[in-house]
Symmetry: C2
Subunit: 383 residues, 2 copies
């Protein structure tokens, strides 16, 4: 019998561990290397403005300024999550029987796209090979993902090719630029999605920048106003404190930290290789995909039925429990990637040396193998 | 030609006025009598916890405690808005071809219910007469609204009658207890919706309590977990700063202020009658519905084509511009009620005497009549 991962319960367990650590060791004991370590850098003065009707007025003016600088376009729309924005955008423009065509460098696309397509009764097609990409008669929306969950980036040429194909048929182009809005630009010197010709783009304000979990969408005033109506109707908007967090993070955002990690990650990678491990590099760190995590564990204790998503989540939980290092599988939302990704551009990387990092990674593989061998998986994940 | 109200543009204008007043006169110059004057009573210590993954862990524990005390049930779920929770709940339990039967003391029900019913392809029926209420073969959800937008309350007997009818057929019962969770309880001594036998209830944490705009849902652990999955999948959840605001507001909530206003509103009402006006009372203040606002204006300047929702919004905008008094029509979300409702239990009522209040109401009727007479409606609403 194959066991299935209970994503709600594992997240509650992950958050419980964090809670205990904060109580016992203080919040600075946590080392958040998710690259999603968004915070709310909010002053007491900001707080006095955080009133339901007053806050939005003041902060809307500021977010327009810094948001448009960051993403381009005529107007921006702050969202409770990137997912909320994707859902609202599809609900606004895609009808039953329409098709959404999605070009992305690697499957899977963000689950919210397929999920909302299904909700409105639309077809949904993903293309990972640019040569296969096509527009059908019922295509009403083209989505492009600028980078994968694992930080692969598509080329400027591919970007333009897909946008041109869509524009020939006058079809709306939306770019899921969750971390790409910074990665593509800081590391690869690409233009903003809007400057590349897309109609709309959305970015996650907690990815590769120190903002809160949330989304920021950009586009023309007309499109943003249309989506804003849906957003208000369903309760997808970012509330004032999120907007403040986004403003602060955008004001202090600098591509330098990302560029530095881009260089240092090669040294870190070599140290892991020297330990006999087989990580993949990311632009600003390294990662182990769930299959590779299972491979390492199987090498230690032999074949087993336990699926790789469960093993990767156990790994993440143990890394948190023993080394206070936060990675996504233990605490992410349902459907989040099970890749153990270490973002060396995260500010918490200052709390740990490269050698300590490597030691934690190696030891956690040993501990994960032990847990699997002794049938303690459920205990680690849920109890 | 009848002009239509542009709800996005009027809200932007309302927020712009607020923004200017904060810049020029300071935030304390605003008098928010919406009864929705939620704030974020957050300390610097709270802020250090407002990190994406750390915050939820700490605050989830606390919101469970105070939330269950307030609403009953086994588990609570904090939401970005009440609307977000209603949408997620319907998306979780109602399928294409199902019916939602809604019992409410007065039409219209909250627009998010009909809207989400349509989104999932379900039928939607509203019953305002308890004798008409019925369950059909395809009914999969019964909704009860505990109080109307205008603060009417249904009786405990009617509550139980509808719940029993639903339970006979084993149908899920959801209570939209937006302000009812406090009004029904503090003023009318009714039990919580859950204690009345409902499966789920949701309340707005900014209505008749000093929390942020947001929603809090309660129910059994099983149901809340199911809805939480949808909530996470679409980005409907309350983020950490909202949760903190909810906790603080629930911790300091006392039904006393509501009970006091319940007595004082009679004096206020009499003063308005003495000025020749015809307000309706609410449990904690008074209100003018849009039709009555138009009536007063027509009495002053004669018949006109301008619809009453526009006149009420002009009234609200002028009350804000000239007296700094915030009411819903000027700043509410699209679809929000166009009633001018003054909540005398709002903490900002301390900033104004009863006589000043009455004077502002009377003078704003005069100013509204002038604007309508001189064809300056669009200027007041949008420019």
């Amino acid at each position: 019998m194959t066991i299935e991962l209970d994503e709600i319960k594992k997240r509650e367990k992950g958050l419980k561990i964090i809670n205990e650590k904060i109580k016992n060791e203080g919040i600075d004991s946590l080392i958040d290397l998710t690259g999603l370590a968004g915070g709310f850098d909010v002053t007491p003065k900001d707080i006095s403005l955080l009133e339901t009707y007053a806050g939005p007025a003041v902060f809307d003016e500021k977010i327009q300024k810094v948001g448009i600088e960051h993403l381009g376009g005529e107007k921006v729309l702050p969202l409770n999550r990137t997912t909320s924005g994707i859902a609202a955008m599809i609900m606004t423009y895609v009808k039953e029987g329409d098709e959404i065509a999605h070009y992305l460098p690697e499957e899977p696309g963000h689950p919210s796209i397929a999920r909302t397509a299904k909700l409105v009764g639309a077809d949904y097609v993903e293309y990972t090979d640019i040569n296969d990409f096509k527009i059908n008669d019922n295509t009403s929306l083209v989505v492009i993902t600028g980078t994968t969950m694992d930080h692969e980036v598509i080329s400027e040429n591919d970007f333009k090719y897909v946008i041109n194909k869509a524009k020939e048929q006058d079809i709306l182009v939306f770019v899921d630029d969750a971390s790409g809005a910074r990665l593509r630009r800081a590391v690869y010197n690409q233009p903003t999605a809007i400057d590349l010709g897309a109609d709309l783009s959305v970015t996650s304000t907690d990815k590769l920048m120190e903002g809160p979990r949330g989304g920021l969408m950009a586009g023309s005033e007309k499109l943003i106003d249309e989506i804003k109506l849906t957003v208000n109707q369903y309760g997808f908007e970012a509330q004032a404190p999120l907007v403040v967090g986004m403003i602060k993070a955008l004001e202090k955002y600098s591509p330098e930290r990302i560029k530095e990690a881009y260089v240092e990650k090669d040294e870190l990678y070599q140290k892991l290789i020297d330990k006999g491990l087989n990580p993949l590099t990311t632009p600003t760190g390294f990662m182990f995909k769930e299959d590779e995590i299972k491979n390492v564990v199987v090498d230690k204790i032999g074949e087993m039925d336990t699926p790789s998503d469960i093993i990767a989540t156990v790994y993440s939980m143990l890394l948190l429990e023993n080394y206070n290092i936060v990675t996504i599988p233990a605490v992410g939302m349902p459907g989040a990637s099970k890749t153990i990704r270490i973002d060396w551009s995260a500010k918490d990387s200052d709390k740990i040396t490269m050698d300590e990092m490597v030691c934690a990674i190696v030891d956690t593989f040993n501990k994960t193998a032990e847990v699997c061998k002794n049938n303690k998986v459920e205990q680690v994940l849920y109890e």
